[in-house]
């Protein structure tokens, strides 16, 4: 089954600015995370999303807080696009008790169930079946909720994707599978590890639409996701979107990134979706320089406050090392935040 993107769909000014704002928030948040990581005060591993912002922003602009997403080890962007609080996110990344997961998860396991954000996931492909299940829950309950699985080109070769796409197709689940193909699974090129040039073409095996989307154009992502979300809400089943994108940074913070060419990195940076969106907003008269500069300053300030909040927050109490292994009685769950 083939599908096309409705390129003629008009995107109003409010939506265009909101898309830009989300992308910019992700960019500035991630730059700051990267900077803070170099201070040594962030424990563990951090994988930043810089360069891929258009995917999370364009897809999540079609969702509300009742819809579900599952994410990846590179999950900060999905959290921000789904509306997570920057301070609580930053505190989680710093391993503090005020974090979204009270410091038990960290960068690779941020979740906010109150916003349908069912978790970043450090198992490659780990969130795909979970998103399928959230879509099943919506289907059984008969709600209009949809569920989005974000995953990378590496996860596209996991068997669980096959099982999940088949399951979602036979049950016509309200699910959208968003493959963020940034060309590399850690250091292994998708061109080497994947049997077909377009992962979206695998959708044909399940009789569902598969759409290749240019991740350098946030409006294209938005429109493609809009069609997929409408299909899902309308009871017409799942869609596989493959967004061609590029991570500007290494796989993890500190990655020497010897497996990619400088020229490729340069070319990708020249096709930066964030910069393109900014240019378009100005060129079409939807925003002027002064407004965009003010917006940037506002977000920088918000990110700075998030870092202050994180740094001034307490670490979890070592006496609570076994707390939350099992769910607590409802009366106390969620009370500590």
């Amino acid at each position: 089954m083939s599908a096309s993107i409705e390129r003629a769909v008009h995107v109003d000014r409010k939506t265009a600015i909101a898309l830009y704002r989300t992308m910019l928030t992700i960019r500035l948040f991630e730059r700051r995370v990267s900077r803070e990581f170099r201070t040594g005060d962030i424990p563990g591993f951090v994988h930043v999303y810089i360069g891929e912002e258009a995917v999370a922003a364009g897809v999540c602009a079609n969702l509300d807080e009742h819809d579900y997403v599952t994410s990846t080890h590179r999950g900060h962007g999905h959290c921000i696009a789904k509306g997570c609080d920057l301070g609580a996110m930053m505190a989680e990344i710093f391993g503090r008790e005020t974090g979204l997961c009270r410091g038990r998860g960290g960068s690779m396991h941020i979740a906010d169930f109150s916003r349908g954000m069912l978790g970043a996931n450090a198992i490659v492909g780990g969130g795909i079946a979970l998103a399928t299940g959230a879509a099943l829950a919506a289907s059984v309950r008969g709600t209009s909720q949809v569920s989005v699985a974000f995953f990378g080109d590496g996860a596209a070769n996991q068997g669980v994707l096959h099982e999940s796409l088949n399951l979602a197709a036979i049950w016509r689940l309200p699910a959208i599978y968003v493959c963020e193909n940034n060309g590399f699974a850690e250091s292994t090129p998708a061109a080497y590890a994947t049997s077909v040039p377009d992962i979206a073409s695998r959708a044909a095996a399940y009789g569902i639409p598969g759409v290749v989307v240019d991740g350098a154009d946030v409006l294209e992502v938005y429109r493609a996701a809009r069609t997929a979300v409408q299909r899902a809400r309308g009871g017409d089943g799942p869609t596989l979107l493959e967004v061609k994108t590029y991570r500007f940074m290494g796989h993890y913070e500190g990655d020497p990134d010897r497996y990619r060419d400088d020229s490729d990195r340069e070319a990708a940076r020249n096709r930066d979706a964030l910069a393109a969106c900014r240019r378009d907003l100005v060129a079409t008269g939807q925003a002027n320089e002064a407004e965009l500069e003010a917006l940037e300053a506002e977000i920088e300030e918000e990110v700075a406050r998030a870092v202050e909040f994180a740094r001034s927050s307490p670490f979890p109490d070592p006496a609570e090392v076994t707390r939350y292994v099992y769910p607590e009685p409802l009366a106390t769950a969620g009370a500590a935040r």
Binding site: Y68, T70, G99, L100, C101, R102, G103, R104, G105, H109, A111, D112, F113, S114, L118, G119, N121, I123, G126, I128, A129, L130, A131, T132, G133, A134, A135, L136, A137, A138, S139, V140, R141, S147, G159, V160, H162, E163, S164, N166, L167, I170, W171, R323, Y324, V325, Y326, P327, E328, L330, A333, G334
Partner: protein, 339 residues
């Protein structure tokens, strides 16, 4: 016992009754798995042809329909993972995994996703998921349809594990598992499916983590799991004729383990034999022996004895299989060896 308690039900029918009552009580309870109805989409007369490999789910499809009684493709990672996600999104799925040995295909979904979700996410995830599976030797089902595996899952924080030995407990533990807000794995011994026992008709719960003393005795504590409980009770009768008074403790829940009841029994008897139909390394038998060694060492009059399967997969040929699981004789001899 009241007249109601006298109603006899097989273990498999007790399981089916628990599922039906849970689904009646709560519309968020769904049942999913391979062939839980059977003949999906084939129309009246062919649908619900199976009702599960052992018929446990047979009564559900006509009552609750295809949305809540879902036949799945043979794709354990996919549908167990979907059940985890559905639980995270507020359903109470009960997965029929068929055989414990099949859960290897879904291990990541159970171990990395379901088990860790509450902890990793700081308590915000509630995961009311139940996974039922058949296990155990005795039907010549061979190596890939007989493993117990409960020790593997008992090892994993975030999971609870139950292994009933009676129809009464099978129903009560399953209802408790379904309404628990975390993931619970239910191991149903294949040999016990046809055994009958008293089962009240109304819904009731058996709390998790509470052992049951099946036979009171003063000389030796025998802790036995699932199908081994009946063998321990038989052994106790043999030993009673020799003047050895055996206390048989059935943990019923393996995680969390009711350490208090086991320790209290050993403090009374001064001796422990554990009967576990699993290979011995890192087994429940080992765990129970370790708990007693730590907590009741001063009460022990003899070394703890483990009576287990050998360190081998479950064999096919009946002659070999009979040599695999602990026999009544093996239990009797282990108790006698304590002196």
């Amino acid at each position: 016992m009241s007249a109601v308690l006298e109603r006899q039900l097989s273990l498999v029918d007790a399981v089916g009754e628990a599922l039906r009552q849970a689904m009646e009580a709560d519309p968020s309870v769904i049942v999913m798995g391979e062939d839980v109805a059977g003949g999906a989409g084939r129309g009246a007369g062919k649908e619900n042809a199976m009702g599960g490999s052992f018929g446990a789910t047979k009564s559900l499809y006509p009552l609750f329909g295809a949305s809540r009684v879902r036949d799945t493709p043979i794709s354990e990672a996919g549908f167990v993972g979907a059940a985890v996600g559905a639980a995270a999104a507020g359903l109470r799925p009960v997965v029929d995994a068929m055989w414990a040995d099949f859960t290897g295909l879904a291990f990541d979904q159970i171990y990395n996703q379901a088990a860790k979700m509450s902890y990793m996410f700081g308590g915000q995830a509630r995961l009311p998921l139940t996974i039922r599976m058949a296990m155990g030797s005795g039907l010549s089902a061979a190596a890939q349809h007989s493993g117990t595996l409960y020790a593997i899952y008992t090892h994993l924080p975030g999971l609870k594990v139950v292994a009933p030995s009676t129809p009464y407990d099978a129903k009560g533990l399953l209802l408790e598992a379904i309404f628990d807000d975390g993931p619970v794995l239910v191991f149903e011994h294949m040999k016990l499916y046809v055994t009958k026992g008293p089962v009240p008709a109304e819904p009731y719960r058996v709390p998790l983590g509470v052992a049951e003393v099946r036979r009171a005795g003063g000389d030796v504590t025998v802790v036995a799991i699932a199908a081994m409980v009946d063998r321990a009770l038989e052994a106790a009768e043999v030993l009673a004729e020799e003047g050895i008074d055996v206390e048989v403790v059935d943990p019923r829940t393996l995680s969390p383990l009711d350490e208090e009841s086991i320790v209290a029994s050993v403090e009374k008897t001064g001796a422990l034999v554990v009967v576990d139909e699993s290979p011995p390394r890192c087994s429940l038998a080992s765990e129970i022996a370790a708990v007693v060694s730590e907590r009741a060492f001063d009460f022990l009059n003899a070394p703890v004895r483990r009576v287990t399967a050998p360190h081998a997969p479950v064999p096919f040929a009946p002659a070999l299989e009979a040599a695999y699981a602990p026999s009544v004789t093996a239990v009797v001899e282990a108790v006698r060896s304590l002196g």
